[in-house]
């Protein structure tokens, strides 16, 4: 009876809105990327002239920096919508909230995760990572960063109603990031030594599928709690 938009159209609409907001708030959204680049460039300076050591710990450096950059950007997923009342309007939408949440998380990944993927090869080269390991590095970032956004969304949804949710958010989310960190860094290590990496990649893919299918529902439920 109603002429409401199809769910797909609403999804695209919200995704485009969030991208547009990011475009108009460029400075805020460039912060995590800048942080990622700055942290990584500090390591060669701090470690001195030890190229072997640097190449050895490069996977760890890149992934820890990616993790912290993701943490830094998480709050922006729901904060402004919560503060100006847009979140209430999203919760009162005729569409399933979980799908709308997924649209917002997708936008967040496109704005904060994808840029990491683009600058990572440059940084890997700078740290002297072996060329054999670099495709695996990109693959782990491609699979891993969406997981960070999806898991982080649950944490933000739970803490967005709190005045000072920042510390709780990191305590809540970082332990859940650890498996991603372990498997991603181990995959790159193996690739650098010329070993098979499919086991770690499949594990990461499994995490991704799990978080895509479960996280939006958990996030939607947490948002309802925070908004009430």
């Amino acid at each position: 009876m109603s002429n409401r938009l199809s769910l797909g159209q609403a999804f695209i609409f919200l995704l485009r809105r969030d991208m547009l907001l990011a475009l108009r708030n460029r400075a805020e959204y460039a912060m995590p990327l800048l942080f990622f680049v700055l942290v990584i460039t500090m390591f060669p300076l701090a470690l001195g002239a030890q190229p072997e050591l640097l190449a050895r710990i490069a996977p760890g450096i890149i992934w820890v920096a990616a993790l912290l950059a993701a943490m830094l950007s998480l709050d922006s997923i729901f904060r402004s919508d919560f503060d100006d009342g847009s979140l209430e309007q999203i919760l009162l939408s005729a569409h399933p909230v979980a799908i709308l949440v997924l649209a917002k998380v997708c936008a967040h990944w496109l704005v904060t995760g994808l840029p990491l993927l683009i600058v990572a090869p440059l940084l890997a080269e700078m740290l002297g990572m072996s060329t054999a390991a670099q495709p695996t590095l990109l693959l782990t970032i491609l699979i891993g960063t969406p997981i960070l956004s999806l898991i982080g969304a649950i944490g933000v949804a739970l803490t967005v109603g709190l005045r000072k949710g920042g510390i709780i958010l990191s305590l809540l989310v970082l332990p859940l990031y650890v498996p991603v960190l372990i498997f991603a860094a181990s995959a790159i290590d193996n690739a650098a030594m010329g070993f098979e990496v499919s086991a770690q990649i499949y594990m990461l893919l499994a995490f991704l599928l799990l978080s895509v299918s479960l996280s939006p529902w958990a996030t939607a439920a947490a948002l309802r709690m925070s908004a009430s």
Partner: protein
């Protein structure tokens, strides 16, 4: 229950910070009726409105839409509801038109042209302007313009006239009257006097804060 009863509450109760804000609250609204919720600050007006939208769960009792509990209807109920709360719910970085288009995408778009909607709330000249540059009253008018941009029967309005000038208040009062004539239902809290020629106004006084 008559067949035209749209919104009905049964034995509704709300507790906030260990205080009973209200209990055994019952009312029924038929198509074309308006409920004005009155009472002093802190008596639970906003809580009641948020419970009616489904944003907040009632601590006790049921809310029925056409005889069915709203938590079972979910999306089918939200499609009928338009809520304008304390916060305007508009993005300051987007233009007026972009905001209204988003509101339409989230709800059920009405047949009206968005330019007409903006003209009706006297914001036509600001269609492409970024909302952040508008005044508080203009933002409020844009938030209320959502009511016209989407099609819904139930309007739930929390202090809709905040920061509006006298002419705008009269203009929106006339729009409320039109909505009631089209068999819509309105639940509203306001410290301003809402003077509509319609007779179908129920008043609910939530009384003293405990």
């Amino acid at each position: 229950m008559s067949t035209s009863t749209l919104l009905e509450t049964r034995d509704l109760g709300c507790i906030r910070n260990d205080r009973q804000l209200f209990e055994h609250l019952e009312f029924a609204l038929e198509a074309g009726e308006m409920l004005v919720v009155e009472g002093p600050n802190g008596c639970g007006k906003t809580s009641l409105l948020r419970i009616l939208t489904g944003l907040r769960l009632a601590d006790k009792g049921d809310i029925l839409w056409r005889g069915e509990p709203i938590d079972r209807l979910a999306g089918d109920y939200y499609e009928q509801v338009n809520y304008v709360g304390h916060h305007d719910g508009i993005k300051h970085e987007l233009s007026c038109l972009e905001n209204l288009r988003l509101a339409r995408a989230m709800g059920v778009p009405s047949q009206r042209d968005l330019d007409d909607v903006l003209e009706q709330v006297n914001l036509y000249a600001y269609g492409e302007s970024v909302v952040g540059s508008l005044s508080a009253g203009q933002k409020r008018r844009l938030a209320l313009a959502r009511l016209l941009a989407t099609d819904s029967l139930l309007w739930i309005l929390d202090e809709p006239f905040t920061s509006l000038d006298k002419a705008s208040m009269e203009m929106f009062a006339a729009l409320f009257e039109q909505h009631l004539q089209r068999e819509g239902v309105i639940v509203v809290t306001s410290h301003h006097d809402i003077s509509l020629p319609t007779l179908a106004i129920q008043r609910l006084n939530l009384g003293q804060p405990a």
